[in-house]
């Protein structure tokens, strides 16, 4: 049984995906946007894993969840680094 708070958070995550898709042209203007979207995709995968761990393979999916958090954090931190470094360069 998936806890209801995790359902809610997954729902919030999908709403965020919907908002991002609705603004995809707008977001496409962000430099190195692939890093950012991939990072967010990995986080979304982690939320799905944390909900699914209550149904099957609890240990493995728990690990996937936390690895997903870490990967998402690394990707977003990388985007942050690259984005601000290129912001300093004359365009």
């Amino acid at each position: 049984m998936i806890p209801h708070d995790e359902f809610i958070m997954m729902g919030v995550g999908f709403v965020a995906v919907g908002i991002a898709l609705a603004h995809r042209r707008h977001l496409a203007r962000i430099r190195h946007v692939r890093l950012l979207t991939t990072g967010f995709g990995v986080l979304l995968l982690a939320w799905i894993a944390t909900g699914a761990e209550h149904l099957v393979l609890p240990d493995l999916l728990n690990l996937v969840e936390h690895v997903g958090y870490l990967l998402g954090a690394v990707l977003v931190a990388s985007w942050c680094w690259l984005r601000y470094r290129s912001a300093e360069e004359p365009s």
């Binding site: 203007r29 870490l70 954090a73 931190a77």
Partner: protein, 613 residues
Amino acid sequence: MNHTIAILDGLTIACWCIALVGLCIRRRNDFEARVRLILGGLVAFSLVYSAIVFSGWAGLTGNLEHFEDLFGVTLPVWWAFTFFALSHQLIGDDLRRSEAELTHAQTVARMASWRLNLANDRLHWSDAVETLLGAGQRPRTRADFLTLVHPHDRPQLEAAWEGALRGKPFALDYRLSVNDQFIWMHEIVRVESSASEFPTHAMGTLQDITESRKAADAHAILEAQLRQSQKLEAIGQLAGGVAHDFNNILTAILGNTEICIAALSRQGANQSPIIDAMENVRKSAERAAALTRQLLAFSRNQVIQPQSLDLRRVVAGLHELLSRLIKENITLDVVAAPELASVHADANQLEQVVLNLVVNAADAMPGGGRLTIETRNVELDADYVAMHTDALVGPHVLLRVSDSGAGIPADVRDRIFDPFFTTKPLGKGTGLGLATAHGIVKQAGGHIAVYSEIDKGTTFKVFLPAQAGVATDDPRTAKPPAERGAATILLAEDDHLLRKLVTRQLTTAGYTVLAAPSGAEALEIARAHDAPFDLLITDVIMPEMNGRELSEQMTAHQPGLPVLFVSGYTANVISDQGVLDAGVEFLEKPFTREALLARVHEVLNRNACAAPR
């Protein structure tokens, strides 16, 4: 397993913190308030989550899985929203930076862009417009803008605008009043229409092209000068070629006429109409010879003997002649600089230049006026040279001839140095005076310029390169009288009539002449001749072997043999750009019997003095 999870979460927190710290440091000054609030909340949230993870990992707390998962799920969502908000702000920043860069680029390019709402006639300008039109100048309507356009250009702009409203974009140059002066603008305009093809708005750019217009004007002037120069060069080459044959013919006419006149005189027919007719032939031939000389001078093919000259002396020497040439109702002023550099030029040619310019000036004042001849030192700078392709930077001596006459119209000014171009009535001028002056000045390495205003007068400025050192005295002295001689002369002349004539002129003066129609035959005669020759007279331009080649072979055969070159056009065989090579004896065609005998006598005498005793 829990330890692994805790380490992963710890690394996750570390990554977020690095990103957060980086953001806070780099963008601390320009985060919007809402972004700052989100970041602050996120920091607090991340710290709580770290404490929970750390306490669970350290065994300080027991059953915290529920809270840990809750935070673990919530935290990335917070981060996602934070970055979405940040990205939104960054796009705004990019837009503002692009706008700033566009304004900067337009300012540098001295241009502005505009958009006109055709419904309410409102103009919207880019920020660079004030750099272009001046501070506070931002026309609000098209009508306001049109008041700035030069009145002469307004109809053209209006016509183009009407075309644009019918769907024809235009690009137009016109003058605009900016800070009380007119500057040149280049405008590009396009009108946008609605789906029903009704014009809704117009957009365009305006660029200050004053500097490029000036450069284009200067370029056009230089191009015109180059075209003129090339045209004169081509005519000069043609004239030089014609002069060569024409001088041979004239020499034969003059020489034979002299012989006829002399023969008739000996027969006591001094009053014979034949003598009058022959005199007329001689005078006509002399006029033709003078014309040919002018053509050669114009084409810079005249053989000259330049020397250091004081231009003041040249002008002073002509003063009496000039006073006689000009009418009494013209006042002649000569303004000579107290100190004047010398110039390297041919005295005869300089006199010709002064005479031609003065005659031209006098003709421009039929009702009288003032004619000024001025000489002074000037320095031509790079700016002047940039505008006059044939001028050189450096010190020059200026000869200025000004008149207060009718002036030269602009359309005539471009052609005044063309040969045979004249505005004088038929028979009053050959159209060679200014062309000759131009050619002479160019041959002397100088530059001639003209400035004229209608009804005010004309000024010709002749710039000759100044030379260091003192001017030498005029070496032109009277030729020694022709005498009878007894020397043996080898003559090489390819023109049959001329060869016959020169032979006759020399033999009647007592010389022994062996004549050859070519260089090769002259060499054969020299080899076959037992005794040495006293003089070689050779034409310069001959087929197969020219005069210089013949003289070199002859002097190799007989060292010390004096050589007299005769020619109407040397084609630089014995001269460099018309300047006679050092040590070369030369007689210009056409020549009279007296001139020939005087020159032969002079060369023979000089050689006799120089010969070792």
